[in-house]
């Protein structure tokens, strides 16, 4: 029950859905439609797992008075306040500045600026890395840097002003050698994914079972 039945569900489900792809019969389509209708509903509950884990981690931090424990309140308070506020003002889920709400405010004017700014910090770090770490220590590294410089200049308007050859060469690098490298990677990843899919379906790969209940 604990291991065999889940493994059987994976195998039967996997083989069924592979075969379903090749069978246009109405029964096959009905199975497909039920599956695509039910799967999002089932997986929506997985969010509860994530919220539960987050709550557990931060409530333990608060209980144990761990380092930086007061900040855990900054996680837990909005975590439970947001759905509560959305329930009171459901129209705010539809957005619209004509229906301002605390829920909309927290997302649009706190969440969005913070997350956007966190990602934008990478610009500073890449500038620092450009000065301190990007070294042409070998012929290969030199080729990488030259290709990068050509593409960087070709992608900005100043590249067109410096010379038409720059954007043209940059585009040629993107459309041919870059494409070749990425295609090889894509094929490798594609084969790897197919192999992993089969390993999971046939029970060779069992890490997804985890340790729950052994």
């Amino acid at each position: 029950m604990k291991r065999t039945v889940p493994l059987m569900i994976v195998m039967v489900g996997g083989i069924l859905m592979i075969i379903q792809y090749f069978i246009p019969h109405q029964i096959s389509q009905t199975i497909f439609e039920y599956y695509t209708d039910w799967a999002p509903i089932i997986v929506a509950f997985a969010l509860v797992l994530g919220v539960g884990s987050l709550t557990r981690i931060h409530s333990h931090k608060i209980k144990r008075r761990a380092q930086n424990w007061p900040y855990s309140w900054a996680v837990l308070i909005p975590l439970y306040t947001m759905p509560f506020l959305a329930h009171i003002w459901p129209q705010s889920l539809g957005g619209g500045m004509d229906q301002p709400s605390i829920y909309h405010f927290l997302f649009m004017h706190i969440q969005v600026p913070i997350q956007a700014t966190m990602f934008s910090m990478l610009a500073f770090y890449i500038a620092s890395a450009a000065f301190r770490a990007f070294r042409a220590k070998s012929a290969l590294a030199t080729v990488l840097l030259i290709a990068a410089v050509i593409v960087m200049l070709g992608q900005v308007p100043i590249g067109d002003l410096l010379g038409k050859w720059l954007p043209s060469t940059g585009l040629w690098i993107l459309r041919y050698p870059n494409l070749a490298a990425k295609r090889a990677i894509m094929l490798g990843v594609g084969f790897g994914m197919l192999a992993t899919n089969l390993k999971i379906i046939f029970g060779v790969e069992r890490n997804w079972l985890g340790g729950a209940g052994k």
Partner: protein
């Protein structure tokens, strides 16, 4: 008033995050933790309102779609992960999702990532009227794909004419590709900073259009 307050709050938290570039400080930490809580809370609210309520709860309560009790029960089994004695029950919905999604993905991934890519790699090396740079590019593309695949094949030592020379050519092609990726990565990171500067100078301080 609401919008002005919102923009000032956004600007405050933007500068709070940027303050980390000088030194870590409590305001940065507060912002860092807030974003985790708000995003998880937002996710909960949206998932309930947009998915669970209209696709499970309301149809069940209407009395017409009793078959939806099956995905409902399977979904609830996820929560047993928190109950030590019956945590193994959470494997059932995971197994259902894993098996079926692997099965559904298999033929489509084969088509999208493998067959179509192999088809796309079969291009003419030369055709009448084809510009020289396109012809050169096609040669580079075909040989480069093969060489890069040889480079990534680690089951044989990279020696000899086929594996040795092939993998050497392959790594050069890969370096060109990664150079292009690096150039684009720099562009991407700067773009994100540009977006924030536009917000601060335009939406907040009204110094630019």
């Amino acid at each position: 008033m609401y919008e002005t307050l919102g923009i000032w709050a956004g600007a405050f938290f933007t500068l709070a995050i940027y303050s980390f570039l000088y030194k870590e400080n409590p305001i940065y930490r507060l912002a860092e933790h807030l974003v985790v809580g708000i995003s998880a809370g937002y996710g909960m609210a949206v998932t309930y309102e947009i998915t669970l309520k209209p696709r499970l709860i309301e149809p069940l309560l209407s009395g017409d779609h009793w078959v939806l009790i099956i995905p409902g029960i399977l979904g609830i089994l996820y929560i047993t992960r928190f109950i030590p004695g019956i945590a193994w029950l959470s494997r059932y919905p995971i197994a259902f999702y894993m098996g079926t999604s692997m099965g559904v993905a298999f033929p489509l991934t084969m088509k999208a990532s493998v067959l179509r890519q192999l088809e796309g790699a079969m291009v003419p090396l030369f055709q009448e009227g084809m510009p020289w740079y396109t012809s050169l590019g096609n040669v580079v593309m075909i040989l480069g794909t093969l060489a890069a695949l040889i480079y990534f094949f680690f089951s044989k030592p990279h020696k000899g004419l086929f594996f040795g020379t092939g993998s050497k050519i392959g790594i050069w092609i890969i370096m060109l590709g990664f150079g292009a990726t690096f150039g684009f990565t720099v562009m991407g990171r700067i773009s994100l900073l540009i977006g924030r500067v536009q917000y601060l100078l335009g939406d907040w301080l009204h110094l630019i259009e």
